[in-house]
C-alpha cells in the first residue's frame, strides 16, 4: 500500500482526481448529453432517442437561424466595442490618474456597487426610465429638446445594447485594471525620457501591455452577450430575437432536441470566436 502510494504516477493521478472528477461530472457530461440529445427526435410531448440529422437540417435550412445568429453577433460586436472603450477609459483613470492605493481601491469598489443588486433588477429598472412617459422623455420634453416623446428609447435595439453595456462594462474594467496595475511604472518613465508623447506612450507601451486584460474582458463580454436571452427579451419587448431566445422558446415548447442542436451550434460559434481571439494574445503567458 505504502509502495503504491509512494509511486509518483499514482500520487499524481490522485492529486488531479478531485478536479478531474468535478470537471467530468459538471462540464463534460452535460455537454456530451446536449450533443447526444441534439440528434434525438421530438414530437410534441415526447422525446425519442434516435440518431437523426433533422434538427440540424432544420436549423441550417431556415433563414431565421442566420438572421438570428447575425443579430446575436451584432449585439456582441457593438456591446464589445462600447464596453471596451468605456472599460479601458475607466481602468486607465483608476490605474494612472488616481495616485494613492487607498483611493484606487475605494473607487474600484464604487464601480462594483451596481453589482450589489441582481442582474434582472438592474435591467428592468431601465424600463420606467426609458418608457414613452418615462423619466428620460419627460425630462427632454421639459427642457424643450424634443416635442414628442422619443419612441426608440425603449423596446428597441438601442435599449438592448444600453442594458448590455450597463450590465457588462465591469467585466471589462476588472481585467484591464488588473493588468494595468502590473505595468512597471519605470517603463512609462523610460518612454517619457526617450521623448515619447502621451499618445505615443498609450499606443506603444500601455495598450500592448494591457492586451491580455483586454482579451480576458473581451471573452467575458462576448460569451455573456452571446449566451444571453433574458435581457433581449425584456429590453426589446420580445420584438427582437437572439440565439438564447431561440433556445429558450424551444425549451418552453418541449423541443429539447432542437434546443440542444441550437445550443451546440452556439457553443461551437463561441469557441471559434474565442479560438480566434486567443491567436492574437497568449493569455497564459501573462497570467
Amino acid at each position: 500500500m505504502h509502495r503504491l502510494l509512494g509511486s509518483r504516477h499514482v500520487l499524481g493521478w490522485l492529486q488531479v482526481a478531485p478536479l478531474a472528477l468535478v470537471l467530468v461530472v459538471f462540464l463534460v457530461l452535460p455537454i456530451v448529453m446536449i450533443v447526444t440529445v441534439s440528434f434525438w427526435r421530438a414530437t410534441e410531448f415526447s422525446i425519442i432517442p434516435a440518431f437523426v440529422w433533422e434538427n440540424y437540417e432544420f436549423l441550417f435550412g431556415s433563414s431565421v437561424t442566420y438572421r438570428v445568429f447575425l443579430n446575436t453577433s451584432k449585439y456582441a460586436v457593438i456591446t464589445w466595442a462600447l464596453t471596451l472603450v468605456i472599460g479601458f477609459t475607466v481602468a486607465y483613470f483608476l490605474a494612472f490618474h488616481v495616485r494613492t492605493l487607498t483611493w484606487q481601491v475605494a473607487l474600484f469598489l464604487v464601480c462594483t456597487i451596481p453589482f450589489w443588486t441582481s442582474n434582472i433588477i438592474r435591467m428592468i429598472s431601465w424600463i420606467p426610465f426609458l418608457g414613452r412617459n418615462g423619466i428620460a422623455n419627460s425630462t427632454l420634453i421639459s427642457w424643450g429638446v424634443i416635442d414628442e416623446p422619443v419612441e426608440w428609447l425603449l423596446f428597441s435595439d438601442f435599449a438592448v445594447i444600453l442594458a448590455f453595456v450597463h450590465l457588462y462594462t465591469l467585466f471589462m474594467v476588472v481585467p484591464i485594471f488588473n493588468t494595468m496595475m502590473r505595468i512597471d511604472p519605470s517603463l512609462i518613465e523610460a518612454a517619457r525620457d526617450a521623448g515619447a508623447s502621451g499618445v505615443q506612450i498609450l499606443w506603444n507601451v500601455i495598450i500592448p501591455l494591457t492586451k491580455p486584460g483586454i482579451m480576458i474582458g473581451t471573452i467575458f463580454v462576448v460569451t455573456l452577450v452571446m449566451g444571453d436571452f433574458i435581457t433581449v427579451r425584456f429590453m426589446s419587448g420580445s420584438q427582437s430575437a437572439n440565439v438564447g431566445r431561440l433556445i429558450s422558446n424551444d425549451i418552453a415548447l418541449l423541443a429539447y432536441p432542437s434546443a440542444a442542436a441550437t445550443a451546440v451550434v452556439l457553443l461551437l460559434t463561441v469557441l471559434i470566436v474565442i479560438g480566434i481571439l486567443l491567436r492574437f494574445v497568449d493569455i497564459r503567458k501573462e497570467l
Binding site: 410531448f45 431565421v64 414613452r132 412617459n133 419587448g237 420584438q239 427582437s240 415548447l253
Partner: protein
C-alpha cells in the same frame, strides 16, 4: 396506525361530526390530516387562499406551484411523479392526456356533476347554442374508461379534467387614450395605433387572437381557427409580420405582469389581455376596458386532473378536494375576480346579491363591488364589460386550442418574433 384510545376515538368522532355538517364525507378523518397533495398549474387559480381554505375545511395540505402555460404543459407531459393534481387548461389536456400521465375520473363520485355547465358536458351553453371553433372543452373532457388515453364525444362517465374555471377573453383598451368606440378585432392592426399595440407572445393563444383579427379584417375566413392548415398559418403570420415590420407593435408580452405594466404606463393602448390584468390596471385608478367585440370572444377553460400515480388515501382526498371545489366557496372566490365557476349555482351561496347581479347577471351594481382582496373594482351603477354570463359565454367565437400543425405553427411563430 395510531393506537386506539379514548382520546383518539373522541377526536375522530369530533372530526367526523365536523365533516358531516360540512356535507363532505370525511373518511379516515385522522389520516387525511397527514395527506399532502401537490398541485401545480397556471397562476390563474393557484391561489394561496384556496390552499388555506382547504386546510380549514378538509384538513389536508395542498401545496401550490404556479407556472406559465408552457412550463405547465412541459411538466405534465414529462414529470408525472412531480405532482398529484394538475390544474391545466383544456388545450393543454389535449396535448398531455395521450401520454397517460393523468387518470380518468369517475363522474359518479362527483356530487355536483349534474350541475356542471353544459359547455363542459355536451358543449352547449343552452340547447340552441352552436359550438365554437377550437379545442372546445367537452371535446377533450371525456375518455372511454378508467384507463382510456383517448377522447370520446359523449358523456361517458369518465372525465379527463374536472372543469373549475373559465372565461371569455377579448382585447383590452385604454378608453382615455383612444377616445372613440372600438368594436372590432381588426382595430389591433389599425395604423392609428401604430407603435401602441401589443399581442401576447404565447404561440398557442397568440395565433388565435391573430386569427380573430385576420377574420375581422376580412382577409380570410377560416374553416376552423382552432386547427389551421399550413397555408392558413403562413397567411396569418404574413399579415402580422408585415404589421410588425411597419412598427405596429410596441412590445409583446409573455407574463401577466408585463401586460399590466404595458397598459398602465400607457406604452400600449390596445392589446390582447386577460381579465384579471384589466382588474389590476383598474385598481391603480387607470381606466381600462375589457372591450366586447362584434366577432365574439376567444375563450379558455381550465380544470383539475389527477396524476396517474395517485392512489388510495391520496386519491380519496383528491376526490374530496374536487367535490369541495365545485361546492361553491372557490367558485364565489373566482367569480368575484371576474372568472366563471363550472357550477355557478353553488357559487351563488357564497356571493352577495349585488355581486351575483354584477358578475353573473350583468346587472347594474347596487353598491361598490370589491375584489376578494378588498380593492374596489366598480361603483354603484356600473355594469360589467360584456354583460351577463349568457351574453359573454354565448358569444364565444373560438376556444384556445392546439393544432395538428402545432409544430409548424411554433416554428412560424419563432420566425415572426425574429422577423
Amino acid at each position: 396506525m395510531t393506537k386506539l384510545s379514548r382520546r383518539n376515538v373522541l377526536k375522530g368522532g369530533a372530526a367526523f361530526a365536523a365533516g358531516s355538517t360540512l356535507g363532505a364525507p370525511m373518511i379516515w378523518a385522522q389520516n387525511i390530516k397527514d395527506v399532502t397533495l401537490r398541485q401545480f398549474g397556471t397562476g390563474v387559480s393557484n391561489l394561496n387562499e384556496v390552499a388555506q381554505k382547504v386546510k380549514e375545511d378538509l384538513g389536508f395540505t395542498l401545496e401550490m406551484t404556479a407556472l406559465d402555460s408552457d412550463s405547465v404543459t412541459q411538466r405534465a407531459a414529462t414529470q408525472p411523479n412531480s405532482f398529484d393534481i394538475a390544474d391545466i387548461e383544456y388545450w393543454i389536456c389535449k396535448k398531455v392526456w395521450p401520454t397517460g400521465n393523468l387518470q380518468a375520473m369517475d363522474t359518479s363520485k362527483i356530487k355536483n356533476y349534474d350541475k356542471i355547465v353544459g359547455i363542459f358536458r355536451d358543449g352547449k351553453l343552452t340547447p340552441e347554442s352552436t359550438i365554437a371553433q377550437g379545442t372546445a372543452p367537452h371535446s377533450v373532457g371525456f375518455t372511454s374508461g378508467p384507463d382510456g388515453t383517448d377522447f370520446v364525444d359523449n358523456e361517458s362517465g369518465w372525465m379527463t379534467l374536472i372543469p373549475t374555471i373559465y372565461n371569455a377573453d377579448t382585447l383590452g383598451i385604454r378608453p382615455d387614450l383612444i377616445n372613440r368606440p372600438i368594436s372590432n378585432w381588426s382595430e389591433l392592426l389599425n395604423p392609428e395605433f401604430k407603435g401602441k399595440a401589443s399581442i401576447l407572445d404565447i404561440s398557442s393563444i397568440g395565433i388565435m387572437d391573430m386569427a380573430m383579427v385576420v377574420e375581422s379584417m376580412g382577409e380570410y375566413t377560416y374553416p376552423d381557427k382552432g386547427n389551421m392548415t399550413r397555408e392558413e398559418i403562413d397567411l396569418t403570420m404574413a399579415i402580422f409580420t408585415e404589421a410588425k415590420r411597419n412598427g405596429q407593435f410596441r412590445a409583446f408580452w409573455k407574463s401577466f405582469d408585463e401586460s399590466v405594466n404595458l397598459m398602465a404606463s400607457g406604452e400600449v393602448v390596445i392589446q390582447s389581455m386577460w381579465s384579471p390584468a384589466i382588474t389590476a390596471v383598474k385598481s391603480r385608478g387607470i381606466p381600462c376596458v375589457y372591450q366586447p367585440l362584434e366577432e365574439g370572444y376567444r375563450s379558455w377553460g381550465g380544470g383539475i386532473g389527477l396524476s396517474a400515480a395517485l392512489t388510495g388515501l391520496e386519491r380519496d382526498a383528491a376526490y374530496e378536494y374536487i367535490n369541495w371545489y365545485l361546492d361553491g366557496w372557490v367558485g364565489g372566490f373566482l367569480m368575484r375576480q371576474g372568472y366563471y365557476s363550472a357550477v355557478p349555482e353553488t357559487s351563488k351561496n357564497f356571493m352577495s346579491e349585488n355581486e351575483w347581479g354584477y358578475w353573473f347577471e350583468g346587472k347594474e351594481a347596487t353598491d361598490t363591488i370589491t375584489s376578494p382582496f378588498g380593492d374596489p373594482l366598480a361603483q354603484a351603477g356600473d355594469v360589467r364589460d360584456g354583460g351577463s354570463f349568457n351574453d359573454r359565454m354565448g358569444a364565444v367565437a373560438c376556444w384556445n386550442s392546439v393544432m395538428d400543425e402545432n409544430q409548424y405553427m411554433v416554428r412560424k411563430w419563432n420566425e415572426f418574433i425574429a422577423a
